[in-house]
Symmetry: C2
Subunit: 335 residues, 2 copies
C-alpha cells in the first residue's frame, strides 16, 4: 500500500480495516461486510449495529437540504441498513460536528428533524457527542436494532435461480439530486416535488424488511444506497453468484423519466447507477413471487421482479435487446 | 433559543438533544447523561454504548500526534467511558473522515494503532463508514460494552459522607498538552516522555472499573475526561450532592509539577482543570477505603482519597489552607 489516498477506493479502505488477526469471538455473528454487524449477546434476538457519516460539501450541501430534512435523512439512511437485515431499529447515537458558523436555529431545526425521524421509526436517541469542527458540518450516526436470530437476512444467501426484486422505484433520488444541482432545469412542479422528496426525505422500507424476514422469503437482502448495480454487485460477491437484470423491468417513475429526458439523459442510468434510493433489493425463490408481491401490496408497496441470480459470476444487463456488462459502478466518494 | 452557536456550551447542545417527549421505553435503563447509555435487551447483562468524535485542529493536531497514537487514543478514550460504568468493552464501530491530503500511509498507521488498541482492550472492530471530508480529518467511534445488571455504576449514586477517590494521577495529560503546544519548554527527557505519553497514549482503567463494580464498592463513578472539577460536578449534579476536595491530597506527578514550575504555572491547575487524564473518579463508603486501596495495589495502581461527598450542594476546594469555590470549569470545546 503506497501512494495517495485517491488511489484507494472506499471499499479498499474498508478492506484495510477488516484485516483480521485471529478468529472472531463466538458472539460476532457477522462483522464488517454486510449492511449491519450482527452480534449474539445472548437471548433470542441478535443485536444489529450500523453507522453512517455525512459530511457537508461531500454528502450534502447545506444550502440545498434544510436542517430539518438533514436530521430526518440522517436517521432514515441508517434505519435503511437495519431494514436490509430484516430488523427493527431501536436506539441511535449521534456524533455531531458543528462549525463556528452554524447557528443555534440550524441546530434546533436539525434536532427537530432528527427527533421527528426517530419517532416515526420507533428509535430512541440515547447519546452522542457534540464537537466543534473548523469548516464542515458532520453528522455521524450509529444505530442499533434487533432481529430474532432465525430471521437475520444477509447479503450472502442469494442462490442461482432466485428472482431479484426491488421494493420500489430506483432513480428518483438521482434525478432529485440532478434537480438540486441544476436548479434551472424546468419540470412540472409535481415531478419536481416528487423527485426532491425522494432525494431529501427518503423513507426506509422497514416494514417490507420485517415482512420478508419474518416469513423467511428473502434469501439475500440489501438496500440500494450506492446504486442498484453496485449494491447488486455486493450481493453477488458475498453470495458467490452472478445476476441478470432486465432494464425493461426496472421500476422507473414518470417523474424520473421526465427529468432525464429534459436533461438529455437516459433514465435507466439514474436507475442503475444513481444510489440513495433506499429501497430494498433482494433475491427469493421464484415460487414465492406471488406471496412477496401480495405482501408488498398489503404494505402499500409495489414489489418488482427485475431479473435473476445466476450461477455464473458477473452482472449482465439486458438493455435495448442486448446483454451488456455494466461499464461503470455506482458513486464512489473517493473518485 | 436564539443567537449564534458560540453562545451555547457543549452541555447546552447536549441538553437540546435530550429533550424527551413522553417516557422512555422500558428497555432504556439509562439514556443521555452518563458516560454510556445502558440498554436492557434481555439477559443478565446490560448493553453499554458510548460514542466520541475527534476532529483535527480541534481535538488533535495531526503534526503533534502520530497516526498510530491517534488510532490507539481514539479507542482508548471510548473504552474509558465503558470503564466508568464498571463494564467491559466489546465491539467498536468507526466513522472515519479523510481529507484529499490524507496519505495511504497515514491511514494504514492509524489503522495499525486502532487495531492494536482494540486487541489490548479486548475489542472487536466490527464496522464503520469511511467518507471524504474537505479539510479536516475526523474520527467518530461508537463502542459497545456490557456489564451484569446488578454491577452497573452510574454517576448518580454518590451519597453524603462518601469518600472521593482518584484511580491515578491528574494533570499529566494537561502538562503533556502544554509541552506539545510549547515545544521550546526545556524539561528532562524522562519527564517529557512521561507527560507526552499521558496525553498521547492514555490507558483506560478498565480493570479498576471492573474491580469496583464487581465488588460493589463504588457508589458513583466517572472518568476524568473534561477535567477533575468538571467531572466531579457531573457526579454532584447527577447525585444531588456536593463535594469537598483537598488539593494537598491530589495525586500530581513530579513530572507535571516540574513542567508547571518551568512554565510559571501551578500544577494544581493542571490537575483540577486539565482533563483527558482518563483515570477513574469515584465515591465510596469510608469503611471500604482499605479494600479499595488494596484492590488498586493488586492491579498495580495507587488509588488516592482526595475528598468527600457532602449533603450541601456545590464543590469546594481546600487550597493553601482556604476553602474556595472553583472559579472556572474544565475545557469546553465551544468556548
Amino acid at each position: 500500500l503506497t501512494g495517495s489516498l485517491q488511489q484507494l477506493t472506499e471499499f479498499g479502505i474498508i478492506g484495510l480495516f477488516s484485516q483480521q488477526v485471529g478468529a472472531r469471538p463466538a458472539w460476532v455473528s457477522t462483522g464488517i461486510g454486510d449492511d449491519c454487524a450482527v452480534l449474539d449477546l445472548g437471548g433470542e434476538k441478535r443485536l444489529l449495529v450500523t453507522c453512517d457519516m455525512l459530511v457537508e460539501g461531500v454528502h450534502f450541501l447545506s444550502d440545498r437540504i434544510s436542517p430539518r430534512q438533514l436530521g430526518q435523512k440522517s436517521i432514515a439512511v441508517n434505519a435503511s441498513d437495519i431494514a436490509a437485515m430484516g430488523g427493527e431499529p431501536l436506539a441511535a447515537f449521534l456524533g455531531l460536528g458543528l462549525t463556528p458558523q452554524t447557528s443555534a436555529e440550524y441546530v434546533r431545526a436539525f434536532r427537530d428533524g432528527l427527533l421527528e425521524g426517530c419517532r416515526e421509526l420507533g428509535v430512541e436517541l440515547l447519546g452522542g457527542d457534540t464537537v466543534a469542527t473548523r469548516t464542515d458540518l458532520a453528522v455521524s450516526i450509529t444505530l442499533l436494532g434487533q432481529v430474532r436470530a432465525e430471521e437475520v437476512v444477509l447479503r450472502s444467501g442469494a442462490r442461482p435461480g432466485d428472482l431479484l426484486f426491488l421494493g420500489g422505484n430506483v432513480g428518483d433520488s438521482a434525478a432529485g439530486l440532478r434537480l438540486l444541482l441544476h436548479p434551472d432545469l424546468i419540470l412540472p412542479p409535481e415531478h419536481r416535488e416528487a423527485l426532491l422528496r425522494a432525494h431529501l426525505e427518503p423513507r426506509p422500507q422497514l416494514r417490507l424488511g420485517r415482512f420478508l424476514a419474518s416469513h423467511r422469503l428473502a434469501h439475500s437482502l440489501i438496500d440500494v444506497s450506492d446504486g442498484l448495480l453496485q449494491d447488486l454487485g455486493h450481493i453477488c460477491a458475498s453470495s458467490g453468484v452472478g445476476a441478470r437484470v432486465d432494464c425493461a423491468r426496472l421500476p422507473i417513475s414518470v417523474s424520473a423519466t421526465e427529468a432525464a429526458s429534459r436533461s438529455g439523459l437516459d433514465p435507466r442510468d439514474f436507475a442503475l447507477y444513481g444510489g440513495e434510493d433506499y429501497v430494498l433489493l433482494f433475491s427469493a425463490a421464484p415460487q414465492d413471487e406471488d406471496q412477496i408481491r401480495d405482501g408488498g401490496r398489503a404494505l402499500g408497496l409495489e414489489v418488482h421482479p427485475i431479473g435473476e441470480i445466476t450461477a455464473e459470476a458477473g452482472v449482465s444487463v439486458l438493455r435495448d435487446g442486448r446483454w451488456v456488462s455494466p461499464e461503470r459502478e455506482g458513486y464512489d466518494h473517493f473518485r
